[in-house]
Each structure stands twice: as C-alpha cells, then as structure tokens.
Amino acid sequence: MNHTSIAAALFIIVLSGTLVAGCREARSVASQEEADLQREFERAPLDGSDAAASAIAGSPQDPLALLVDSLAKIPGEFESNSVGTFSFRGDETLFNAFYQYADSAVVALVECLGNSSPARATYEGRPVPIGYMCYSALIRMAYPTAFEDSPGDWPGVLLNPAPSADELRAAQRAWEEVIAQDAYRIAFDQAFQDVSRVALGVGGRWS
C-alpha cells in the first residue's frame, strides 16, 4: 500500500466517523423534537379538531393510537337528552375521526372499551371512564348486526355514561365476540353497489 492509498483510507475513515456522528446528532435532535412534541401533546387539553388534525398530520405515534389516547383528553360533558339517551356537549370532531380507519378503528375502540380510568369529559360533574368515550365513538360508526334490532340482555350496550368497571369489561367482551364473528357493520358513506343495475333489471324491483 503506497502513501496515497493510506491517505485515501484515512480520509474515508474520518469522513465515515463524521457522518456517523452527524447522523447520531440528527437522530438525537429528531428524538428530542419527538419527545418535546409528545410532552406538549400530553400536557395540552385538546379539543376534538386539534386532536384529529394532529393525528392526520402525522405524529410520531400511530395516528389511530393517538386518536384513542386523545379521547381521554377532550373536554365536554354528557347530558341526558329528551329521548332518554346521552348526548355529548363539546367538540364532537374527534368521535368522527375514527371512521376513516374502518375495521382497524373498531378493533382499537373495543380494545379501549374496558378502560375504566377517568377521562377529562364528565357526567354530572364526575369524569366518565375512558372506555365510555371509546364506546361513544364506536356506536357512531358501527353496530352489531345480530343485536341491533333486539339487543335484549346483550351486554354490549352501555346504558349511561357512568358504567362500572364490570359493565365496561362485559361490554368489551361482548364486542370482542362480535368482532371475532365478523358480525358487525360499519355505516359507510361511500357507494358499494350500482343501484341502476338492480332497479332497472327485468323481473327485479319494479315488477
């Protein structure tokens, strides 16, 4: 090996070291930024549109997981309504952000359904369980086909915003069974079938 080769080899080694160090530094800065962002997110009380926008914009966390976590943080209050169910008074944007994730959202919301930790939203002045927030999002996008028209004693329905831990777990198990059997329907807004083919068919709808 001559002097030129040795010099070239040394140059490459030094350059590699600089690049590796540079990358480490860059990663460290990125990690720091991610950590700062995460801390800022965790600190700040969110309204629904903030959380949805943040998740969609691409956060270091999985957007769907971030949406689920955000349900615990949105302010608002559940109130009894005129028909005997409970309406959410607050920004409802976040509840509707799950829809775009279809089946993945159903699974994630059911996973969260058993969570009895307190959320920021309240009912009669007390925090509702996080699981109830997930339930509220779940029933805005999906329903169990076998039970929707005759729920009977099916435990998947939560009758008020202050369910016990046992009621949450029972609801979670009921929905897990529905998912396992693929016995639910998501109420989509896009077209899956051409009506004209059916409506105009001879011997079909109009005969």
């Binding site: 309504n81 028909v83 005997g84 169910t85 309406s87 959410f88 409802e92 509707n96 829809y99 029933i139 805005r140 996008m141 999906a142 329903y143 169990p144 086909t145 076998a146 039970f147 929707e148 028209d149 005759s150 729920p151 099916w154 329905v157 939560l158 009758l159 016995a183 329907r185 998501i186 109420a187 989509f188 807004d189 896009q190 077209a191 899956f192 079938q193 051409d194 009506v195 004209s196 059916v198 409506a199 105009l200 068919g201 079909g204 709808r205 109009w206 005969s207």
Partner: protein, 182 residues
C-alpha cells in the same frame, strides 16, 4: 293517486310529476311519477352503502317504492346500508326482505351528525317513508337515532334506550308484508 299503485302496472300517459324530480311539472305529487322517472331518480339518488352490497331483489316492493318516493319528496339522496340479507335478528325481518336500513342523507352519515340533528333528520326521513307505505303494510318497527317504535309488543324505557344506541348510525324500518297479521 293511490300511493300503493305499482309503478310498473301504471304509467301516467302525460308523465305528470314534479319538474324538479324529473317530471313535467303538471302535478306536485311524486306518486304521480311514471316508472321511468322513478328509476332515473333512484339511480342518481339512492346509494348502496352496505360494504359488499346488499340484495334488493327480494325486498318488499311497497317498502322500496316508499324509500324512493321519500327520497323524491324530500329531494334528498339516501344511503342504504342494509336490505334483504342474513346476519340480522329474526324479528327485524331483514332476512325475508321486510326491512331496510338507511344511514346517510345527502351523503352525510347519521353517525357523523350531532345527536339533535341526527334525531331530527332521521325522524323526518322515517316518517316520510312511512307515509308512502300502504295501510295494509305500515311499519311494525321504526328505529332511528332519536326514536324507537314497534307495534309487536310493549317496550320498556331500557329497551328503548338500547335500541336508540344501536341505531345511532342508521334508520331501520320493518314492514310486515301485505297480508300479514298486524
């Protein structure tokens, strides 16, 4: 005109029908619309939102006509999330073509509407559909985000609350079928 008239067996020779639903504007009754006008309206205003599609061939003809007439009467598009299909409870009558689920109005999901709006809009749509059903095939169940009604047996407050929650996303209407004991 009798709203139960089958549009296939009757075609108004003058095409009497409101202009803004595709007719000639000589009357304001959507039930006067000839079959062709109804078909054209349905093609552009009835959307199948059931993933994987749904079966319309065996659905109760009174119910289907009433859905199309309601869409015309209200001048709105409706999304059908369920028609004749298995997997539902027996009493809902989906399996025999006696029920329909509607989950969008003008492309907006009931689930995405605030409760008060969903309850109000779904109520108007359900009542309009019911008004176009013949007396011998009136609904025995109407469940919406804001109301739960059935004729088959009394309902407790708890049952009503459960049904309302299970229909936060859609309207369900069951008819008994003509000739059925109501």
């Amino acid at each position: 005109m009798d709203p139960t008239r089958n549009p296939l067996s009757y075609s108004d020779p003058f095409g009497l029908c409101p202009e803004d639903v595709g007719g000639d504007g000589k009357t304001d009754k959507v039930t006067d619309c000839p079959r062709e006008v109804m078909e054209k309206w349905a093609t552009s205003h009835i959307t199948i939102t059931a993933r994987g599609g749904t079966d319309f061939d065996g659905i109760d003809p009174d119910l289907w006509n009433a859905v199309v007439w309601a869409s015309m009467e209200l001048r709105v598009s409706l999304g059908i999330s369920g028609a004749k299909e298995g997997g539902h409870s027996i009493e809902g009558r989906h399996a025999v073509g006696g029920a329909v689920d509607i989950n969008t109005v003008n492309g907006v999901r009931f689930g995405a509407m605030p409760f008060d709006i969903a309850a109000n809009v779904s109520g108007v749509v359900a009542r309009t559909i019911s008004s176009f059903l013949p007396e011998n095939n009136k609904p025995i169940m109407i469940y919406t985000p804001g109301s739960a009604f059935r004729t088959t047996r009394p309902m407790t407050a708890e049952q009503r609350a459960k049904l309302l929650q299970m229909h936060r996303t859609h309207i369900h209407i069951t008819v008994p079928g003509r000739g059925a004991q109501q």
